[in-house]
Structure formats: structure tokens, C-alpha cells
């Protein structure tokens, strides 16, 4: 048994860290917000050049063919610097579902272009409000006339090149692959709580689209696996964010004087941050185990991922809130850096469903075991 990253994985983390620290600075984030940029194109380009975007895409489809563990290592750095990129949409969710459910031809067509960063892809499952374990069959429908219906919110939907869209086809759940660069798709940008991660509403009206289907592929299963996979990877993004919040708060508390003492010398602040540390390390331990399970097809993968997501949700929620609290008034200003994480935390919580949904999944998995 060895519960530690390999030397190669550590080197990968270092590389990713170096790049992100240099490019994705807080001032860069402020600039992107002011410019209302869709995403950080410079960073995306850099990541593509270093091969990070194709880290977990199989070699035969233009990727590097590393495991979920390596992708998770990169995700942690993305989270640490609150990067403004379609990482989860394109290289985690869309790439995975195409890999799982696409035909050889679909994979050959799209995965290399995702890996190289040439195109940005997204996965769209939502049709309005609600956080459900078993959502109803999508209203969006694919038939011989094409794809029709509305999807919202779609991450990066107004500028992505490609979308995998959940829809109904012959009365069953199906996955449609849509080229978003074609005419006739109505795209409306939504107002996003995370100012660095944009969303859109997409309306299709007999839009040409193809089914994503391997002969024996069950769309429900592919979707389930993709969302689980994303949960495992996003947990590391949450952990990266948690760690940034923890040490940002710690550092500020050691700088700020209050009533003639360091703010960080007050037990209320010490205990608050110690509790964040505890949540962080619990989440990290669970996330490491879950990604190992994922990479090794362990029998308790589903359970381990649910555990990992629950503790990552808990850690980042507390860290993002209390980081602002420790900063006091200054944290409420745009010039401070707390707000990036305060917003991103909610986004990552909303992206794949909250505590209720994953608790349900976990208890079901434990009962089934």
C-alpha cells in the first residue's frame, strides 16, 4: 500500500502549478471580469501546448493517455488559481462522454481536437431549475428532423464549438452530438454567479445532430459514469480552492493587528482555520482514494466518489465563507481576492448537484455493497 502521489505525478503538479501561478493571477482574473471575457485564452493555449488538455484522453485519440489521477492533479491547480477556463466542460465532461459513448469515428473526429485545444466542447444535461437524483426524461427531442428544444444552463454554451446534449430519442434518454458552429442555434448568454465561468441558454429547432452511440452503449450508464468521473476530478478542483482560501486567510490573520495582537492569535480565528484544515485533509484523503479507485476500476468506485464529493463540498463551502469572514471589510472589496473563490465554490457545488443528491447516491451505494 502506498497513499502518496508518484514522483511523476508530483512533477506534473509542479509544472501545472508553475504555469497557473504565472498566468492566472488575481489581477488577470479581475481583468477578465472587466473585459467580460468568455475564458482565459492565453492560459488555455498554454495548457494545450504543454499537453495538459489531453492528459486523460487516450493516446490513440491524440491525448497523452494518463489516468484520472493525473487529470485530478491538474484539476487541483486549476482550482487553486481559480482559473477561468472551460476545463470541466471540455476536457473532463465532454471528452469523457465521447470516449465512453462515441463510435470509433466520433472519437477520431472530436477527441484529438479537444485534446489539442482546437475546439472547446461542453456537456449539456440541464433544462431549468432543480437538483435531482432522477430527473425526468429531457424535453429536448432528437428525431429524423433533427434536435429541437431548449437547454439551460449550458456551461460555455455560447462560444463552445461542440456540445453533447441529453435528449429523448424514441422515448428513451439519448445523447446527441451537436456542432454548435452551425447556423440556426439560438444562443443567449445567462447571468452567471461565477463571473469567470459563463453559461448560456441554447435553443435548437430541427438542428442537425447525430446520436452518440456505441453499439452496446447505454446512454444512462454513460451519463452516470461521466458525472461520477467529473465529480471525482472536480473534488480536486474544490480542494485546490479550499487550500487557497485556508492559507489566504491564515496569511491575512498573521498580518492584521487587532486590539494590539495579531488577528491570527485569537483562538476563534485559530480554531476556525484549524477546522477548515481538518475538512481539507479529510476531503483530500477521500479524493485521493476516489481517483485511485477510478483509475483502477475498483469495486467501490461509486461509493468512494460520493464520499469524496461530499467532503469536498463541505470543505470548500466552509473555506470560501470563512476566508471572507477572516478578511472582514476588506474581503468585501473587489480588490481583495476572496470573492473569486466565494463564487466558484457555489458554482462547483451546483455543477453536479449538491449534498442531498450525493448523500442519496452514497447511501444507495453503501446499501448495495
Amino acid at each position: 500500500m502506498n497513499f502518496d502521489l508518484s514522483d511523476d505525478q508530483k512533477m506534473l503538479a509542479e509544472q501545472a502549478n508553475k504555469l497557473l501561478a504565472e498566468v492566472s493571477t488575481p489581477d488577470r482574473l479581475r481583468q477578465l471580469i472587466d473585459e467580460k471575457a468568455d475564458y482565459d485564452q492565453v492560459l488555455w493555449q498554454n495548457l494545450a501546448e504543454l499537453g495538459f488538455l489531453g492528459a486523460a484522453i487516450p493516446e490513440e485519440f491524440g491525448g497523452i493517455g494518463m489516468s484520472a489521477m493525473e487529470l485530478a492533479v491538474v484539476a487541483e491547480e486549476v482550482g487553486r488559481y481559480n482559473a477561468a477556463i472551460p476545463f470541466v466542460s471540455s476536457v473532463v465532461q465532454a471528452a469523457k462522454i465521447i470516449e465512453l459513448a462515441g463510435t470509433q469515428k466520433q472519437k477520431e473526429t472530436w477527441l484529438p481536437r479537444i485534446a489539442s485545444g482546437e475546439i472547446i466542447a461542453t456537456l449539456s444535461t440541464h433544462e431549468g431549475a432543480g437538483d435531482m437524483q432522477s430527473p425526468p426524461l429531457p424535453q429536448c427531442r432528437l428525431d429524423s428532423n433533427g434536435l429541437s428544444g431548449k437547454k439551460l444552463p449550458v456551461a460555455d454554451g455560447h462560444y463552445a464549438h461542440l456540445a453533447v446534449v441529453t435528449c429523448q430519442h424514441q422515448g428513451k434518454l439519448a445523447l446527441a452530438l451537436v456542432d454548435l458552429t452551425q447556423d440556426g442555434i439560438q444562443k443567449t448568454q445567462l447571468s452567471s454567479f461565477d463571473e469567470l465561468r459563463p453559461f448560456a441558454q441554447l435553443s435548437f429547432d430541427q438542428t442537425p445532430a447525430e446520436l452518440l452511440e456505441l453499439d452496446d452503449c447505454d446512454s444512462q450508464q454513460a451519463l452516470y459514469k461521466t458525472l461520477n468521473y467529473a465529480a471525482a476530478i472536480i473534488a480536486l478542483e474544490q480542494i485546490g480552492g479550499t487550500e487557497t482560501c485556508l492559507y489566504m486567510a491564515r496569511d491575512y490573520s498573521l498580518e492584521r493587528q487587532i486590539f494590539g495582537r495579531k488577528l491570527g492569535s485569537y483562538q476563534a480565528i485559530k480554531h476556525k482555520l484549524a477546522q477548515v484544515y481538518v475538512k481539507l485533509e479529510i476531503a483530500r484523503s477521500n479524493a485521493m482514494y476516489a481517483t485511485w479507485c477510478l483509475a483502477n476500476n475498483a469495486s467501490d468506485t461509486g461509493e468512494a466518489i460520493a464520499v469524496s464529493r461530499l467532503s469536498a463540498l463541505d470543505a470548500f463551502e466552509t473555506a470560501a465563507r470563512e476566508n471572507l469572514q477572516v478578511h472582514g471589510g476588506i474581503g468585501y472589496t473587489f480588490e481583495a481576492n476572496c470573492h473569486f473563490y466565494y463564487r466558484r465554490e457555489r458554482l462547483l457545488a451546483g455543477l453536479l448537484g449538491g449534498k442531498s443528491l450525493w448523500s442519496d447516491k452514497l447511501i444507495n451505494a453503501v446499501k448495495a455493497a
Binding site: D131, M132, P153, F259, R261, G329, F334
Partner: protein, 402 residues
Amino acid sequence: MDFNDTPDEAAFRSEVSQWLMQNAPEFTITADTKEQEFVAKAKAWQAKKAEAGYAGIRLPKDVGGRAGSEMESILFDTEEGKYELPLGPVVGIGQSMAIPVIRKHGTEDQLKRFAEPTLKGDITWCQLFSEPAAGSDLAGLRTKAVKDGDEWVVNGQKVWSSWAHHADWGILLARTDPTVAKHKGLTFFLIDMKSPGIDIRPIRQISGESDFNETFMTDVRIPDKYRIGEVGEGWACAMTVLTSERLSSAELKESESVDYLIELAAQTPGDRGTALDNDCVRERLAYWYSLEQGQKNFHLRMLTKLSQGSGPGAEASLLKLVYAQRLQQSAGFGMEIQGLSGLATSPSDHAAEEMQKTYIWSTAMRVAGGADEVLLNQIAERVLGMPGEMRGDKNIPFNELA
């Protein structure tokens, strides 16, 4: 114990309620009311109330008040709260901070000069207390005022002064003697916000709004007649202001209430029908509802005490503490139950947007007017009689602190 009105209370309530029905509607605002219009309406509404004798219910008649009882004031506020009126800091700071401090620590001339125009909405106020390095530790402030003949020359920087850009006057706390311990070297002033040397810059907040300001003061001159209380009495004056602030923070926006969230959950699809059919959603909302009711009922207990003549003690701190923490948790949860739609909203989705705003605003509430941790200290020390924190600044002259 009796939550029903006494006959006198019922009569007053009915009188107020009729007056409001006739007069309030033309002053009401909506979420879309623009800032300038809000300010204009706020002043006009204040004037209307003053005219009818409802502006300073507890104040004596010779300063434009009504000389009414505490309970009358409570009843008026309750009835007034039923309309969406332009209340809040624009006229509120004058009524709930400036007049009380002038009354308690100022001269009769000062009270005459400011009370009536403030009650009428002719003069509006802002508060110049906090500084970048003096928030919870307010007495650590650095803005200095130096006596020069009959005037004081003020230099320094204040922060978090809400609505300063609309205010006519400010209440200012400044250091007049750096050679004594930090609480002892402070003096309280009224400052004309149109004075030369005042530069007001909006702060870009994480909400995207800029309703707070930084106020820079460079050689601003204040005539000594606008000093409140004695030189060195500033801390006591500030405490008067903060105490009267404490009880007034119990007003909730409708979208901040748990009722609103219950409604939202009932309209959001969920696995069992709506989100409100989830037991866990029910349990959380019920818990927050019990806190919100507790806050309301505790507030009524405090008002009863007030009407019996005993002022709000440190225990009133719990009102804001309970409110702000609950607000952050419940708004965060309100976003969560909507799933991704709680985070990326169509222009028409008013509820989701309100939830987001509240989630941001709650971070300010957890800090402003006493951070959570400061309030817990106050309760532990002043209510439970536990020891004060060990301090590094006790009895040390301000200019010798590290």
C-alpha cells in the same frame, strides 16, 4: 405577557394605519427604483412624516419630535414596515445615530441646529468611523484632528461610509491626542460634507455595486462649534451611536425571509415532486424558520424592555449574529436547491437573482456593525461575565503601539 394591543395602543395603531394608507402609497419604491429617485423619495417621505408628527416619535417636541412613548415608536415602525418605503441609511443615519448622539453629548444649540432639519429630511447624514486598519478595533483609528485656533484641521481616510456621496453632513470620530491610550484620545465631530478637502471615492464591492465609499480628508477644517462632547470624549459618543444602531438592524427584506425560501422550494422541481417535498430541505428550512421567529420574538422582548425603560444591553448583539449567519446559510442553500439554475440565471428569474444577491450581502452582514466573533465576545463578557481578551494595547499610548 400579552401580544395584543392595549386600548391605547390599538387606537394609536389605527390612527397610524389610516394615515399611512392615505399617504404612503405615493412614496413606495420597487427593486428597479434608481438611486437618485430613491434619495429624493426618501427625503420627501421623511418630510411628510415630520409634517404629520411621526418623524421623531420619541424626541421631545421642542426639537420637532412628538414626545411619544417607546411603544408608539415601535407601533409606527411596524405599520410603516408594511409598505415598501424608501427607508434605510439615507435618512436613517440622521435619525438613529446623529440625533441621539447630539442629544446625549451635544449642546442645546447643536440639537436645535440639526434635529429639526434632520427630522424633516432636509439634512442627510453619513457615518465616518471605520478606517482601513480600524474595523472591529475601531479605537485604533488614525484620522487625526489638530486644533488650530477656533477650528480643527482633519487629515485621514475613512472607509465603509454608506451613502456618503449623498450626505450633507457626517458624524466623524477622529484622534485628537495620540499620546494617551487609544480609547482616550478620540473626539467626536459633525462635519459638513461639502467642506473643501473632502474627496469621496466609491468602493467597488464584490456585489458589483458601489454604495459604500472611501472618504479622504485633507486639511479639512471643522469649526469647534461642531465638536460633540468634550475633547477626548469621542469614544463615549461612538458607543452611544453603536448602541442605538444595535436594535435597528432587525428589519428583513422580504427576499431574505425564510418564508420566501419555503415558497421558492415549493416551486422548484425535486425528486419527490418539489424541492420542499425533500425531508432534508424541510428540516433545514424549519430550523432557519425557528431562528428567524426567535429573532423576531427576541426583538419583541427587547422592545418590551425598552418600553419599560431599560435600554438594550449587550444581549441585543444576538439579533444580528443570528440573522447574518442564518442569512448566509439559507441563501447558499436556496441557490443549491435550484441546482445549476440557481447559478446561471435568465433575466426573468428574479428569485434566483435575489438569492445570489443575498448570499453576497450576507458576507457584509457577518462583518458590519460587529463581526460574528466580536459579538460572541460581547455576549460572553458582558452578559455571561467571562474574562476579557488579553490585549496588547491596554493603557499604552497610541503613538507607542507597534
